[in-house]
């Protein structure tokens, strides 16, 4: 990131005849904005502005944590929320910083691009008057070297060479500035890719229980949570259906997971249904979307026989609450105890079972936490409720918990004590209805995503990295060869004959070489020596 040091100073602008204050202000602001100092301040601000994004919970990252924060700090929450503290990376102030930074960046690199193109097309500059003042200087053993041959030696080493009046100018390391510019333009590419992806991308999250009856087809209503880019319409989602056929999870004896594999059946538009497998680090790539396995758990299968003898089965995924896959959830049966004669549903006769599922129950009570994530000793702790589930109230409610308002209002009453059930066991309630814990099915949590900006970001990042390396490891340097002292020579030996005036004639002339590293480059002295030696060798051959 060598910056503007090399830039040729622009010619002084002629004094404006009629100074326009607005224009002057604009010009000064622009200069100020595109200065390196401003860029540094903006970079620093960007870093500082990102810090609250890691300290405060973020809506985009984990909305439950934001809600928890609201409950814990009811006074502070609205203030922080208004300041954008829960959407730091989408907040106006964060955006302002990076937009300014990128404007500053463009204002800086566009003129540099122009200068660099000019430098690439220009010949290396003429030698300074006194080569011996340069950091590197040597006098060649071959006095009357042929400039053309020196140029050939340099060209072979990929120097950019020009010969003027017996003087060889050469420059190398243009790639440093090229890489620097590539790096910065690629940064713009990254930003564009991110923006493009957020405009045209979408995602949806949901649970998927194993089994053909719980398959889903790609459709906004099928997701528990979705995010659509501003340029995406619900109709743009690619059509496919997905059925989880099997899920294989293996664990070590310590309970640490060692292997996950989901097997599924996919039906994409324009193709036969096919069997696919995917897992944690190898997502399911579909046409226009990818499905990612995020988590898994168990969905107890509960069969309820109401007092009229009608059987209903619920497959309710119980959300996992810990590493040993303790699950918590609700199996609701709103359409039970319907009078077969009238077909009327008594809203106070609905049934629900709140429960905790333990894939491996401990040997002794309390049966509240699983002790191992695989189903070694499965047990289901159920609490039965009868009454009005409150589903008709029109208030959106979670399907994983009971509506506590109904319980508190006494409209939903617990029946009896909590009951621990093993697979296959039944429990007869006070009204003669029975509930049976049939078994479990696996479920997975899925994220289905499409981000068309990904490729742009990836390619830009790789280009950026390449540019960065060129920029950091490249070394711009110049070298000159000249026959004879082209300056008013200092006396060869003080006090002897008067100096010959810039004479290059005859065998008395010298071949001088000078080198100038234009960037921090410690190896330049060695390179210079080798170059001079190479030139001398080539002269020796002739």
């Amino acid at each position: 990131m060598s910056v503007v040091e090399d830039r040729v100073a622009p010619p002084a602008a002629p004094p404006p005849r009629r100074p326009n204050r607005v224009l002057a202000l604009l010009r000064n602001s622009w200069r100020q904005l595109t200065s390196m100092r401003t860029a540094l301040v903006l970079l620093f601000l960007l870093a500082v502005a990102a810090i609250p994004g890691s300290i405060l919970p973020q809506r985009d990252v984990n909305i439950e944590n934001v809600e928890a924060y609201r409950r814990a700090n009811p006074d502070l929450y609205p203030i922080i929320d208004r300041l954008g503290g829960f959407d730091v990376f989408a907040s106006p102030w964060f955006s302002a910083i990076y937009v300014l930074l990128f404007v500053s960046l463009i204002g800086c690199i566009v003129p540099r691009l122009r200068d660099h193109v000019r430098a690439l097309r220009a010949a290396p500059p003429a030698a300074p008057r006194r080569l011996d003042r340069l950091p590197q200087h040597a006098v060649l053993a071959a006095p009357a070297a042929d400039p053309a041959r020196i140029a050939a030696v340099l060209r072979k080493r990929r120097w950019r060479v020009v010969v003027r009046d017996g003087e060889v100018s050469a420059e190398k390391g243009y790639l440093k500035e090229t890489g620097n510019l590539i790096f910065h333009f690629a940064l713009i590419g990254v930003l564009f890719g991110v923006a493009f992806g957020s405009w045209y991308g979408w995602h949806g999250n949901r649970l998927l229980v194993a089994g053909p009856d719980t398959a889903f087809c790609n459709n906004l209503q099928q997701y528990a949570e979705t995010g659509l880019g501003p340029r995406v319409d619900a109709a743009d989602l690619p059509p496919f259906c997905l059925e989880l056929t099997d899920f294989d999870a293996r664990f070590l004896d310590t309970g640490q997971p060692s292997y996950f594999q989901a097997s599924a059946k996919v039906d994409e538009a324009g193709g036969e249904p096919r069997d696919v497998e995917f897992s944690v680090n190898s997502p399911l790539r579909l046409d226009g979307a990818s499905a990612y396995l995020l988590g898994h758990g168990y969905a107890p299968v509960i069969r309820y026989t109401d007092r009229l003898g009608r059987v209903q089965t619920s497959v309710a995924p119980f959300l996992t609450t810990d590493g040993n896959l303790t699950g918590e959830g609700v199996a609701a049966f709103p359409d039970v105890n319907i009078d077969p004669a009238t077909g009327d549903r008594d809203p106070d006769q609905q049934m629900a079972f709140e429960g905790i599922y333990l894939p491996t129950a401990p040997d002794a009570p309390p049966y509240v936490r699983s002790v191992f994530p695989a189903e070694r000793s499965p047990a289901l702790m159920l609490i039965a409720y009868r009454g009005n589930l409150g589903l008709d109230a029109g208030i959106p409610s979670s399907v994983y918990v009971l509506d506590q308002r109904q319980v508190e209002a006494g409209k939903l009453k617990q029946i009896g004590e909590a009951k621990l059930m093993r697979p296959g066991e039944s429990w007869t309630l006070d009204d003669g209805s029975t509930v049976e814990f049939v078994g479990t099915r696996e479920f997975i949590t899925l994220s289905v995503r499409y981000d068309p900006g990904e490729r742009i970001v990836l390619v830009s990042s790789i280009v950026m990295l390449a540019g960065l390396m060129m920029s950091i490891f490249g070394k711009r340097r110049r070298i000159w060869f000249r026959t004879g002292p082209a300056r008013p020579a200092t006396p060869a030996v003080a006090g002897t004959e008067p100096p010959a005036t810039a004479s290059t004639t005859g065998g008395s002339s010298l071949m001088e070489a000078g080198g100038l590293p234009r960037t921090d480059y410690s190896g330049f002295a060695d390179e210079f020596k080798q170059l001079v030696a190479a030139v001398e060798r080539s002269e020796g051959k002739s």
Binding site: M36, I51, F89, H137, N281, I472, L510
Partner: protein, 328 residues
């Protein structure tokens, strides 16, 4: 094997500690004239143009400083204190070998690369740091004095690691079972190791710079015997310039992996946020370093802030925040 690894770590920390003490002995009782001599020695004469320039005319500018002054420093050569310094280097090598042993036995015990959790990761990062330091020492024996600070950093980091974030050996969780695990962690580990190495000359440069400006109080008095300020500053830049692309590579590798694993390449997870913060700060350092109008002292302070953000990322994020990177 796992127990052996734990014991090797303790022995390794002890060896670093003894090496640190030996360095301190040299530092405290060393030949004061070493650095002083180098400082007052006349600059090396540049090659003359034949017998050309002569007389009483000052025909030459002082030689440009394209040659790091470290090359002008001879390795410390004499005295009992120098012996202590040499012993310290040998002990550091021994400690580094033990450190490597800790990693290797850990890897054998777990049957995988030893960077699957934060404990192992810090062990690997610090090993990269010390290996890079020894490599540097091989090329620039004159920098040996800095060993005191390097071993101090090692003792502190390894001590904290062993005490606070020790994790029993185990295989990888499926989330880490990916090719990108190796790419991402090794790049991040190498870069972090280099940043750890880079902080030593950065701090010493600031001390030395203050010392050169006539400050004699603590902590500037520590800088009495360290190499010249410009050498330290240049070293700081070189190390950071090397580490920054690696860090970038590590972050890009992490983003690619995150896409495959979590479905998005960037999601402002706390670890991601802090790696972004570090990246931005180090980018600021490189820009500041390349801008003539920004003082080198200011630039070096930016590097130090960058290092603090790295530490925050390495330890703080795992301890304070809940995120996707919490495996340890």
């Amino acid at each position: 094997m796992a127990a052996l690894s734990d014991q090797l770590l303790v022995v390794s920390i002890m060896a670093y500690l003894v090496a640190m003490i030996c360095h301190a002995v040299e530092f405290a009782f060393g030949d004061r004239s070493l650095v002083g001599r180098a400082a007052v020695r006349p600059a090396r004469e540049p090659a003359l143009v034949g017998a050309g320039a002569g007389g009483d005319q000052p025909a030459f500018e002082p030689p440009a400083v394209d040659e790091p002054a470290a090359d002008r420093l001879d390795p410390p050569s004499s005295g009992r204190a120098a012996l202590a310094g040499r012993i310290a280097v040998v002990l550091t090598v021994v400690a580094a070998v033990l450190h490597l042993g800790t990693l290797v036995t850990r890897g054998i015990a777990a049957e995988r690369m030893p960077w699957g959790n934060m404990y192992e990761f810090v062990l690997a990062v610090t090993f990269v740091g010390i290996a890079a330091w020894l490599g540097l020492l091989l090329r620039r024996p004159g920098l040996r004095h800095l060993g005191l600070f390097m071993t101090l950093v090692m003792v502190l980091l390894l001590g904290v690691t062993g005490l606070v974030i020790y994790t029993p050996v185990g295989p990888l969780v499926p989330a880490l079972d990916s090719y990108w695990f190796y790419v991402h962690i090794s790049a991040i580990g190498l870069a972090s190791g280099a940043f750890v190495l880079g902080i030593v000359p950065a701090v010493l440069y600031l001390l030395r710079n203050g010392y050169d400006q006539g400050k004699r109080g603590f902590p500037y008095s520590l800088a009495e015997r360290v190499p010249a300020a410009d050498v330290l500053e240049r070293l700081t830049f070189r190390i950071h310039a090397f580490a920054f692309p690696l860090w970038t590579m590590g972050v890009i590798g992490g983003a690619i992996w995150a896409e495959a694993s979590w479905g998005r390449y960037w999601g402002w997870d706390p670890k991601e946020t802090w790696s972004f913060i570090s990246w931005v700060i180090y980018a600021g350092y490189l820009h500041a370093r390349a801008t003539p109008s920004v003082k080198r002292k200011v630039a070096t302070w930016i590097a130090i802030i960058g290092f603090l953000s790295m530490l925050m990322n390495l330890f703080g994020v795992n301890l304070f925040f809940e995120g996707l990177h919490s495996y340890a």
